[in-house]
């Protein structure tokens, strides 16, 4: 009986509640990764098959050896893009189907903290897959990395992740609002984005406007800058200078996060006004 009569010493509010929510919502993603090892195998083996085929094609064509490293890095970064496109984007939709979305909205926490938690969890879980692909690539094809600036590399990677997951958060709200239509759009965009974002080759090889258009996807510029920073001759294949790419990635981060916040507020408003967004169709 004491268990139901004793009061809690305190309850966190404000930014403490915000942080608690982020950590709590990231938890299922990180733990889920450990409990479902089969996902790990599937999501490492599949990108590796693409990496292997590109490596053989490049070697058959006598392409510069740097391309092998580009492909391995692209294979590793594919995991993040797949995570955004198929997991992060549809997450709010699945939360609705599961019955969690109404509970999230009804709780005193911020929905933005929920989305950030999803993003953080997804990012950490996917980082494991990306590391696995990189290590396999290094072992199988003898790829070596020579980092010219650790600080810049860290900055580029972090900005690319913030912008990418900001984009994922924005897409999560869009998927919830537009449902099946958004799903079809993502399906349609998957292959062209793989091509235009230069996952397996430097985007400098593409016509300028195609490469510039593809730069809206944060991984495009992120990968381009990272290739310049971890391969000694990488700068020869760079689309823009690393510094400029850092500025653009920072701008993209702000744009995507602000848009995500705006769309999320709109989704919440619509949910309360129309009552159908939190409704499961099951």
């Amino acid at each position: 009986m004491e268990a139901v009569s004793k009061k809690y010493s305190h309850k966190a509010t404000g930014w403490r509640l915000f942080l608690k929510t982020i950590i709590a919502r990231a938890y299922p993603r990180i733990i889920g990764q450990q409990r479902e090892i089969s996902w790990m195998v599937f999501e490492v083996v599949m990108p590796m098959l693409a990496v292997i085929s590109y490596v053989f094609v490049y070697r058959a064509l006598n392409a510069p050896e740097e391309y092998i490293g580009f492909v391995v890095m692209g294979g590793a970064m594919t995991a993040f893009w797949m995570n955004i496109l198929w997991s992060m984007s549809s997450q709010l939709y699945w939360e609705k189907e599961q019955g969690n979305l109404a509970l999230y909205i009804m709780a005193p926490n911020s929905m933005m903290a929920i989305l950030l938690g999803m993003a953080l969890g997804g990012m950490l879980a996917t980082a494991m897959r990306a590391i696995a692909v990189t290590l396999l690539g290094m072992l199988m094809f003898g790829v070596t990395f020579t980092v010219s600036s650790y600080l810049q590399l860290f900055l580029v990677f972090m900005l690319a992740m913030v912008a990418l997951y900001g984009m994922g958060m924005m897409m999560a709200s869009a998927f919830l609002m537009f449902g099946r239509e958004a799903w079809h759009m993502a399906n349609l965009a998957q292959e062209p984005i793989f091509l235009a974002s230069g996952f397996y080759f430097p985007i400098k090889s593409l016509p300028f406007w195609v490469a510039a258009g593809a730069s809206v996807i944060p991984l495009t510029l992120g990968m381009d800058a990272m290739r310049q920073l971890i391969f000694p001759t990488g700068f020869q294949f760079g689309f823009m200078t690393v510094q400029l790419e850092i500025y653009i990635l920072a701008a993209l981060s702000v744009v995507f996060l602000v848009t995500a916040k705006f769309l999320l507020a709109r989704v919440e408003k619509l949910a309360v006004r129309e009552g159908r967004i939190t409704e499961s169709r099951r």
Binding site: V4, Y8, T21, Y27, P28, Q98, G99, L103, I105, V272
Partner: protein, 338 residues
């Protein structure tokens, strides 16, 4: 919560705009109409009505998940529409048959996660989870993945989730839906213990189980087609039928006996026939007991044999029939065919 009222609504209404094809004009569905209710702090208040009566719509409005199209509602002293951020830390909700949480997480982890969204300190949350799970008889399943739980255990986990955050006002929307008899009993006992532990706690329960409402609730509002038809203590609601004599009669065979024939008898105010495997069960409401002789006489004329006859006290089901003119089951099947 300064006011003595935990929940207050005034002329609350909600109209849904139903989406059809683009050419069609949008249809409207009135889910709630002019609902005015007050629930005192410390009260266990029941909302009783068939599926589609508007119970869940009302709960959604009170839990800040849906805005009303007319009227207003206050929960824990704050307006649900204008100040949802003041209401949310003070409430929680559990729905029957919900599948919230994540299957890969254990029961403890799922509950811990939800407690964090309310800012509960981790250590205290874990202690409380253990204690609450023990109370609902689930402590041994604390480390079981929630995907491995049966429906009943999963619902018990959801119920613990609702109580875990120490809400001032808790909304239980059909919490015992789909549970077996034992689990239902556990849940009802737990609800009463939780309320007894703190006189400030308020609970609003929706159910279409009449017995549940009768057994648990201090007061009950009977709701149908979005309107509150009556609201009072179960005993007071039943008293309105106390003047009638209620009989249940099992007969075999029916031999063409109809509800209309029974109602046509003088002093028979209401009659319902439900067919059974061996014949039929009749529920009769008579102005006075002496009218029973005339009914039995009708049975003799139709060659209907009485297998069993009992007089009974009125229930909330009878109150519903009295107010609506149909049983709750009939109302539900009628509603679904409309």
């Amino acid at each position: 919560m300064s006011s003595s009222l935990a929940i207050e609504t005034k002329d609350l209404g909600r109209i849904y705009k139903l989406r059809g094809s683009k050419k069609e004009t949008r249809k409207e569905l009135v889910a709630l109409e002019g609902v005015s209710l007050t629930v005192e702090r410390g009260e266990l208040f029941g909302l009783l009505g068939p599926n589609g009566a508007g119970k869940t719509t009302l709960i959604k409005i009170l839990t800040t998940l849906l805005s009303p199209t007319s009227g207003w509602a206050r929960v824990a002293g704050a307006d649900v529409n204008a100040e949802p951020e003041s209401v949310r830390p003070r409430i929680n909700m559990v729905s029957g048959g919900e599948s919230s949480g994540y299957g890969l997480l254990t029961v403890r982890e799922n509950l811990w996660m939800f407690s964090q969204f309310y800012g509960v300190p981790s250590k205290e949350a874990n202690e409380r989870i253990e204690a609450l799970l023990e109370m609902v008889g689930m402590k041994d399943r604390m480390h079981t993945k929630s995907s491995d739980l049966s429906t009943g255990l999963r619902q018990k986990m959801n119920i613990v989730r609702g109580f875990l955050t120490e809400p001032e006002v808790l909304f239980l929307d059909e919490p015992t839906l789909g549970l077996d008899v034992g689990a239902m009993r556990d849940v009802r006992r737990f609800i009463l213990e939780w309320l007894k532990a703190d006189k400030e706690r308020t609970l609003l329960l929706t159910t279409h189980y009449m017995m549940e409402a009768d057994e648990l609730c201090d007061r009950v509002a009977i709701i149908n087609k979005g309107k509150v038809l009556a609201c009072d203590k179960p005993s007071v609601l039943k008293q309105r039928l106390q003047k009638d004599a209620l009989f249940e009669i099992e007969v075999s065979p029916l031999n063409g006996l109809t509800q209309q024939m029974l109602v046509d008898q003088p002093e028979v105010t209401k009659a319902a026939i439900s067919e059974t495997e061996t014949g039929a069960k009749l529920s009769l409401s008579l102005v006075e007991e002496s009218a029973l002789a005339r009914v039995i006489n009708l049975f003799t004329q139709k060659d209907v044999k009485v297998m069993n006859l009992s007089k009974r006290e009125p229930t909330l089901e009878d109150v519903f029939v009295d107010l609506v003119g149909r049983s709750m089951a009939e109302e539900e099947s009628n509603g679904s065919s409309e």
